[in-house]
Symmetry: C2
Subunit: 332 residues, 2 copies
């Protein structure tokens, strides 16, 4: 399902990052950095709430807004019952739409918000997401203290939170169009190879987006998926070519960008719903404002597994959502 | 955040119910009933997927539509990573918005869908939710086989699935307005008393809805909350009066309606995201079509706890969302 927008702009973005992310290539671009996994709280779950609240505060501060100026908050995360979002929201106090779409949360939130802003149903909204490496490991795999080995296709859940402020007030970056994906399941059962599970859904959503808007892939300066990892990225490009006859030459994947893959112990790269927004909000956003790139398609990819379904030996369904951002002269 | 709609109608509804629900007062009104908890599958999680798929198929069948006629599916459930929704969606194959709002999922989905239908961003959408007693007990509390005793304030998670079809095509029941709630946390830590945790959020959302639309509570023939239970229902009415000076005389709660409270072992009543839609879609919907009641405010109430947050002795945040449905002559 593809939407075109006339009236939605990206007003502000914020980033809060954890210890590993701050030592990665974009370390100096994050708005706030924590050097430990507790962020001044007693548990990892509460640390994730803390970062989510920080990212909302930071976005509001940078946009010179108060909470009461914001009509709606759309947010989701990886924890069971999206508790980072829900517990943070009790102190944020903005009407909330809670979503779950694993690592495709950020773009799904941006689409729901853009639809409402575009038709003046709301003046503006914050879209947030977060993840926490140790919290995710404890919940989905094993406590990190066990020191269990991992395969090279595994990814490393990023720690941090990020928020976007959407508004109908004209700004440099316009939200131009978007595509909501379908759940795709091609039978991958290996939860240590989520890039392979997600790549076909990313391919489907990119194909559907280009088809609905009658565009070629090179319409975009950059197609940015997140987070497939080094193996998933390769699979996406091959699958895109074989299945849809589309060459992705202008493509990168945030899982392969967020860390120094040669020197940080992150296997096939980053993951977690915050991975793509940490890369976009810190680095790509600025490149767009600076006029270095003008058309970006963000494709957030989510593996929709749970431990109980993996234990039942079921395969891993995936979904990807895409949103097109464009530098515009509307503001002039 | 309150919305008014001009162009959204409730085209069809469906219900699939489990063994306890089918023996309740609305048993004969459900579209499909399973007499065991497995629904022909091997696990409770897969049984819940089965019921969700059934409810979508049933709604499409009753509306004389095919899957490819539907633009969007909005769905959520209680299981970790909303796997009932996500695994069902792999076979349903309609573009998906996955949401998490605990037992307020149905109305949140209806609001997101109504906003898009109202402005012709989509022609129609299915909104679904599901829950499963044994699946929820295993995940949130203890396996039912343990036979652990419960306090009288506990509720009994309903087993079933329900779908709504929203469309801009004129029908007897119009979606008239809606209010997205805020997360409220007044410090209740007892996960066996979720009615008490949720009542203040229901009160806030009802108050905000009436205030935004400059209405009195008696504007509605029925304000239907779900699912507070017998204690939460009482707390809501008292709290409404003390905090907002509003008398709720036209109020009922689906937790107190779905079972025969005198003869079924359900403690303070039903719960789970499917509780409210099972009651509405089977019984109240027909009463509206028959012209017996014409204005209904559905207020779905969600307790946003998780086991890890309860184990950390944190209190339980809650959220409620409201949607106004009205019998209309638009169709004539």
């Amino acid at each position: 399902m593809t939407f075109k927008y006339d009236n939605v702009y990206l007003s502000e973005v914020s980033t809060v990052a954890g210890p590993y992310e701050s030592k990665g290539p974009f370390g100096r671009y994050y708005d706030k950095v924590y050097n430990d996994f507790y962020c001044g709280t007693k548990t990892w779950e509460q640390a994730e709430c803390r970062m989510l609240i920080d990212s909302v505060d930071m976005a509001l501060y940078k946009a010179n807004k108060l909470k009461q100026d914001i009509d709606l908050h759309i947010s989701g995360d990886l924890l069971n019952q999206i508790v980072s979002t829900n517990y943070a929201s009790a102190s944020i106090g903005i009407p909330l739409i809670g979503i779950y779409s694993a690592c495709s949360t950020s773009v799904l939130g941006l689409i729901i918000g853009s639809n409402m802003v575009d038709k003046d149903q709301i003046r503006n909204c914050l879209v947030s997401t977060s993840s926490h490496n140790n919290g995710a490991e404890k919940q989905f795999r094993q406590p990190v203290e066990y020191g269990g080995p991992k395969r090279k296709t595994a990814t490393f859940t990023a720690t941090g939170a990020a928020s976007f402020l959407l508004s109908s007030k004209k700004e440099r970056i316009k939200v131009e169009s978007a595509t909501i994906g379908k759940v795709i399941d091609l039978g991958i059962t290996d939860s240590m190879n989520m890039g392979a599970a997600m790549a076909p859904s990313a391919a489907y959503t990119i194909y559907q987006h280009l088809k609905d808007l009658k565009r070629e892939a090179n319409y975009y300066d950059l197609i940015l998926t997140g987070d497939l990892g080094i193996y998933g990225k390769k699979i996406l490009r091959e699958y895109m070519k074989i299945e849809y006859n589309i060459e992705l030459n202008n493509h990168d994947d945030t899982a392969c960008m967020i860390y120094d893959l040669d020197n940080q112990p992150v296997y096939a790269g980053g993951s977690g719903p915050v991975c793509l927004p940490l890369v976009f909000n810190s680095y790509i956003y600025q490149k767009m404002l600076d006029g270095e790139i003008s058309r970006v398609l963000l494709v957030a990819t989510g593996a929709l597994l749970s431990t109980s379904m993996v234990n039942q030996k079921l395969s891993i369904p995936s979904i990807s959502h895409a949103i097109s951002l464009e530098v515009t002269d509307d503001i002039l």
